[in-house]
Amino acid sequence: MLTHLVLAATLLAGLGMSSAMAGSDGAKLYGRHCAACHGANGDGGIGIPLSLRSFQAGASDDYLSKTIRHGRPGRVMPAFSKLDESEIKAIVRHVRSWNKGASATYTGQHVKGDPVHGKKLFAQYCAACHGADGEGGKGTGVTYSRPRDLPIMAPALHNPGFLAAAPDAMIKATLMHGREGTPMKSFLKQGLKEKDIDDIVSYVREFEKQPLSGSARVLKVENPVIVRDSPYDLETTVENAKRAVSNNNFFYGRVQTLEYGLTAPADENPKQVIVYFCNISLLNQALAIDPRVGMFLPCRITILETNGKVQVMSVNPNVLSRLFNNSELNRLCDEMTKSYTAIVEEATL
């Protein structure tokens, strides 16, 4: 009997400890992967405020898990493909610890409605915030310390990550009850009937069958580096590059070797030269869309000589679209890729 009691106590203590450990792991994992965008206590910032009572009440654990797993392609929230299931569960538990209420559960049953009528209602009631094509509110949620008009960005509904995470029943519940503390109001209170709401849900589900929305598109990169061979010697190519920079509406900043600052100037390898340049207006536009792009600043192209062969190269700016998972950068990335290619080609012409 005593042995059983000791065993039971040990087991319970063990369970308690493992639960506490999971809790602390969840906090640590949240701190590492989520807090930068969602805030240390889930009060939002770049990402949505996860601790918001109405969000907690409306989102199921499954929705949170799938959102972490799939992210929102093109909408900043990344897919955490390297986290395993137990890590994701630990993060979800941590997020749930901010709210003591029961979390929502939803069936996977499809809501039957008329998507044609739903489309009309969507245009009337949803499009102003969620976009005509369900592409989501402008700004992708990246606002940092810049002024914010809304406490939450209208999410992209026409997004494979959202559609995989949100069951029909959850979308319906959100439409029925709204989300207190956000601009999302109850559609019932706006005079719609449950049948109308079903029609909207069935229209939103139809997004799955439509081509990918522009806001969910991330540029593909075949080659991360733009490279051209130069017929000139290193010095001439550097001068050509400086001229090409100015000809393409950038101002030339400085020339340094790759090893600048790593060793004494006399020991630097003079055959690896970097030309730094910038266009402040373009930079300001990029930072306004996504302040994280600074990690690729300033613009630069590399000129190097290996065994008498001179090459000019730069990072392919389209890499940024994927790296930041921000479709609003796509236009700028495309422009930058064209400019970089033009500079590299002009320097080696």
Partner: protein, 152 residues
């Protein structure tokens, strides 16, 4: 018919989710520190792992000189000479991605740090000889970010 349409929708969604996009390729950290303090911690965390800080890019000053407003914003470049020499000798295409860097900027009375995962370079440069180096850069970068975030 309806059943097969549902399957088609699910298959389409699966296909879209399998597209190579939206991976967690960025390391980000929010430090509960004012910018100057976080900046000092960051440089110390970098140096304590044997890296040399080569340059501090002053982004906000450059913007303000042309009348664009910005919070405090720096890009911190760092590296180790021998590693940079070894890696670029084997693969010169790596040069545009070096030296390593971490972006740091103010958000109110907190600071945000951003860097790309060095391990991502493995996908672009699948040289087995560089694998161990990328992995160590990854480990160091994660530790640096953790140190600045968790410093009490």
């Amino acid at each position: 018919m309806k059943h097969s349409l549902k399957w088609a929708g699910a298959a389409w969604l699966t296909l879209l989710l399998c597209m190579p996009a939206a991976a967690d390729d960025l390391l980000m950290a929010r430090a509960n520190r004012m910018f100057p303090e976080a900046m000092t911690l960051l440089q110390s965390a970098i140096s304590s792992r044997g890296y040399t800080v080569t340059r501090l890019q002053q982004v906000n000053e450059n913007l303000q000189r042309r009348e664009f407003q910005s919070d405090m914003y720096r890009v911190v470049y760092f590296g180790k000479l021998e590693e940079v020499r070894r890696a670029t000798a084997r693969n010169p295409d790596l040069i545009p991605f070096l030296p390593l860097n971490i972006t740091i900027f103010a958000e109110g009375d907190q600071s945000i740090l951003v860097a790309s995962h060095p391990q991502m370079l493995q996908e672009f440069f699948p040289d087995p000889e560089l694998k161990a180096l990328f992995e160590r850069w990854e480990k160091d970068m994660v530790e640096i970010m953790d140190e600045v975030r968790e410093e009490k």
